[in-house]
């Protein structure tokens, strides 16, 4: 840096700033006047903005601004607009029977999407986000239904629950504790367990299974069907397939006959409105197993 007055560049006749890098000097070219005006304009704009819009942070919140802008209020109004746009479909769903929803493809798509959202919030805790279920909580994707897989049956189950004391219309079935209450002898239970295992296609003692067949008809067929095909009206699950609510295999079946475990599901008609329950029914039905 030169200590004297900054030198004048020979070629352009402009004063230099005195800064020099590797022999390259910086010209001190004056800024255009309009640039200055724009600079002032931005300052005025900034002041105006601070008055008009929320700007200064305070201990609780911030200054509101005279225009009263609020992103939260914008959200509320946008949600209201979205709700108004949905109301056409919601009204249609409210007015129609569950089975009729499927007749209108657009309405069905809306119901599935709405049901999907409601399922994630209310049902996924027990049935899983993909409705794949857990031990004791049925998988809703498959084609076995304890209480029936038609739209109406699914709707009723969701609305009133299963073994849900607060709802009079709830689905109720109670399997007797054949062992614990000494309704059957130990070897009889063994035989039935082996028979059930054999009809479900898992490993079993065939001699015991033969004995168990007769005992099954006498003691179990009323609820589970003659060949273990299940009775949906009574909530007796099918036993002649690979799908188990708790677990398959002789040991697990024996345990269940001895002292049965029962699941419980709340009825949702007291928490959710009817439109949501209908949408849930359509969604669950759409998962692939609906009948």
């Amino acid at each position: 840096m030169s200590e004297d007055k900054n030198e004048i560049d020979e070629i352009s006749g402009t004063e230099t700033t005195g800064h020099e890098w590797d022999g390259i000097k910086e010209l001190n070219t004056p800024l255009p006047r309009w640039w200055l005006w724009i600079f002032y304009a931005t300052i005025i704009w900034a002041v105006g903005y601070m008055i008009a819009m929320p700007a200064w942070p305070l201990i609780n919140g911030a200054t509101k601004g005279v225009l009263g802008y609020s992103s939260r209020a914008n959200l509320v109004s946008e949600v209201e607009i979205a709700k108004a746009a949905q109301s056409e479909f919601l009204n249609k769903i409210e007015a129609s029977e569950v089975v009729d929803i499927l007749k209108d493809e657009e309405l069905a798509r809306f119901a599935r999407a709405g049901g999907d959202a409601a399922f994630k919030v209310n049902c996924s805790q027990c049935h899983g986000a993909g409705a794949q279920g857990f031990v004791g909580f049925p998988n809703l994707n498959d084609d076995e239904w304890i209480w029936g897989g038609t739209l109406d049956a699914i709707y009723t189950t969701i609305a009133h629950g299963a073994r849900y004391a607060a709802d009079e219309d709830t689905r109720i079935s109670q399997m007797p504790a054949f062992g614990a209450d000494e309704l059957l002898e130990r070897d009889e239970i063994d035989a039935i367990a082996n028979y059930v295992a054999s009809i479900s296609g898992t490993e079993a003692d065939s001699a015991l299974a033969n004995t168990g067949k007769e005992l099954f008809v006498d003691n179990c067929a009323a609820c589970h069907g003659d060949v273990g095909e299940g009775v949906a009206d009574l909530g007796g699950p099918a036993l002649n397939n690979a799908i188990w609510l708790f677990a398959g295999g002789v040991d697990a079946i024996t345990a269940q006959i001895n002292q049965p475990k029962h699941g419980e599901m709340p009825g949702w008609s007291d928490k959710l409105d009817d439109v949501t329950v209908k949408q849930l029914a359509v969604y669950v039905h759409s998962l692939g197993g609906g009948q």
């Binding site: 200590e3 007055k5 800024l31 255009p32 599935r112 498959d142 759409s286 692939g288 197993g289």
Partner: protein, 529 residues
């Protein structure tokens, strides 16, 4: 820090400088004619392109060029581009970029001088100004004069016409984004969307201010392109050049001095080149960032040379290489003319001219009064420099590549997403079911019927949502025109037939009308055995 206080006081430092108004004089000539032609052509294309109609049938717009932001589609003649095909736009931008490099490499700042909207609109606004207020001298007088009624009315009329041009510019811009005839109707009847009016207002303001008042300052202070172009020019690029080797020493009374036996250059210092310059510079100071190479000073100077009976081209498009060579030919070492002249490829004028003087006797034959023939002028060979050929090759390759890809483009596309949760569902009969979300893209403006088939899973059972009782081998689907059809399907299969946990297979979609087909590979998952 021994500063001299006297010196500091002497010169007041100017921090901000007001713009010096420029009053370009009208000029006639080849470049001016070409600029008018180019102005009408570019503005015409800009204004009228949205109004060209192009029949695409009943399901799509009939606008030749339409950027449909609402539906995320771009229409150009028979080409229809969807958002996921944005690489076509990338290709076009690469072509535009490389094309500019090519033009710059050959013709220097030709973009700035002829095609840049800033130049074109400024030119148009200056034309309006000239029609209303008169040419340079009249305008200078008007500017200095008092605010008479005449001045106010002329200024008002000028601003009004500028404003109308600006509004039309804004309206033309938004016409690319909507149906132009309908939009025009809506705009006039005040039915158009607020965003349309806001966009027009913004573009009106920018056009009015930039072309009316900012003018050359846009190029000098704001635009990055002159800097980039400056870096791209080389000694073979054409630039507007004052050929001082034949112009100097310049003099105002050439004839008198010549008669007196003095050696004089061709430049009569008439300032015609300065008067016509739209950026207000003196080209005789050499190449400068303000120069947009519009060529108007060439026209002005050529007219003067013609009157004087001298060769045209005292100011001309020339390359630095030729210019340097000519300068060397026309100059001599001070005091000793016989010394070898400097190497002609010497690029820097100042280095070259250090200790040298232009000698008019080396320029012009005193007997015939003609320029010697040894001087160099740009010729067609310039266009075939390796750099230009490289740029052209890249430009052409991108263009041909895009054309090939566009001509092979399949208007039918599909995406398949296998369910993640659950990956598979075990059914009561021991079979396994997988779920898939399929999106079929029908990128033509006609409804189409397609068949969805599977390859690699023989006898697989297909079913649809809420219809698990109906089993299909293949599906017939109706695709709406220019839309994506989402389909959710289930596939059921016996796991005993499969060896791997994951079996890849193909989903194929085929137009029933013309057999065009597309496919996607996905997988079928079964539990580990």
């Amino acid at each position: 820090m021994a500063k001299n206080p006297k010196e500091n006081k002497q010169e007041k430092i100017v921090l901000y400088e007001a713009r010096k108004n420029i009053f370009p004089k009208d000029v006639k000539g080849n470049f001016r004619r070409f600029k008018w032609f180019w102005l009408v052509l570019t503005i015409g294309v800009y204004i009228f392109t949205p109004w060209i109609r192009w029949d695409r049938g009943p399901y799509a717009s009939d606008q030749f060029l339409l950027i449909d932001l609402a539906n995320r589609k771009f229409f150009f003649a028979n080409i229809e581009i969807w958002p996921q095909e944005f690489y076509y736009v990338t290709g076009m931008l690469i072509m535009a970029g490389v094309g500019l490099f090519l033009i710059t490499s050959i013709l220097g700042r030709a973009w700035c001088g002829y095609s840049c909207p800033q130049t074109v609109f400024t030119d148009m606004f200056i034309w309006v100004e000239r029609k209303i207020e008169g040419d340079r001298n009249a305008r200078l007088k008007l500017e200095k004069g008092a605010w008479t009624f005449e001045k106010i009315s002329k200024f008002s009329l000028k601003y009004l016409i500028w404003l109308i041009i600006s509004i039309l510019t804004g309206a033309a811009f938004i016409s690319y984004f909507a149906e132009a005839p309908q939009l025009a109707k809506d705009l006039i009847t005040l039915q158009a969307a607020p965003v349309a009016y806001i966009t027009i207002a913004i573009l009106t303001a920018t056009t009015f201010i930039f072309a009316g008042f900012m003018r050359e300052q846009m190029c000098i202070y704001m635009c990055p392109w002159p800097r980039i172009q400056g870096a791209m020019l080389d000694e073979n690029s054409l630039t507007v050049t004052y050929n001082d080797w034949r112009g100097e020493p310049r003099t105002k009374n050439q004839k008198k001095l010549k008669a007196a036996g003095d050696l004089v250059g061709d430049c009569v210092d008439c300032d015609a080149c300065v008067a016509v310059c739209p950026t207000g510079i003196d080209i005789r100071d050499g190449q400068q960032i303000e120069c947009i190479t519009c060529g108007l000073c060439i026209d002005a100077c050529d007219n003067v040379m013609e009157k004087l009976g001298l060769e045209k081209g005292l100011i001309s498009y020339t390359t630095l290489k030729d210019y340097t060579q000519n300068l060397a030919l026309a100059s001599a070492m001070n005091k000793d003319e016989k010394k070898q002249i400097l190497a002609p490829h010497h690029a820097n004028h100042n280095v070259l001219m250090d200790n040298r003087t232009i000698v008019p006797s080396k320029v012009r034959d005193s007997k015939t009064n003609k320029l010697f023939e040894r001087f160099k002028y740009p010729n067609w060979k310039l266009f075939f420099s390796p750099r230009n050929i490289l740029y052209f090759t890249i430009w052409g390759a991108v263009g041909i590549g895009m054309l090939v890809v566009l001509s092979l483009r399949n208007p039918l596309d599909m995406n398949v997403l296998h369910d993640r949760n659950p990956l598979y569902v075990a059914l009561s009969d021991g079979t396994i079911r997988n779920g898939y979300n399929i999106k079929i893209l029908n990128m033509v403006p006609q409804p189409q019927r397609v068949e969805l088939t599977l390859e690699g899973l023989p006898n697989a059972k297909l079913s649809l949502v809420n219809q698990s009782n109906e089993i299909f081998e293949s599906l017939i689907l109706d695709l709406p025109p220019d839309e994506v059809l989402p389909v959710r399907v289930y596939i059921t299969y016996d796991p005993k037939e499969l060896e791997e946990v994951r079996t890849n297979f193909k989903m194929i979609v085929t137009y029933l009308s013309n057999e065009r087909t597309t496919s996607a590979v996905t997988f079928f998952e079964i539990p580990a055995k």
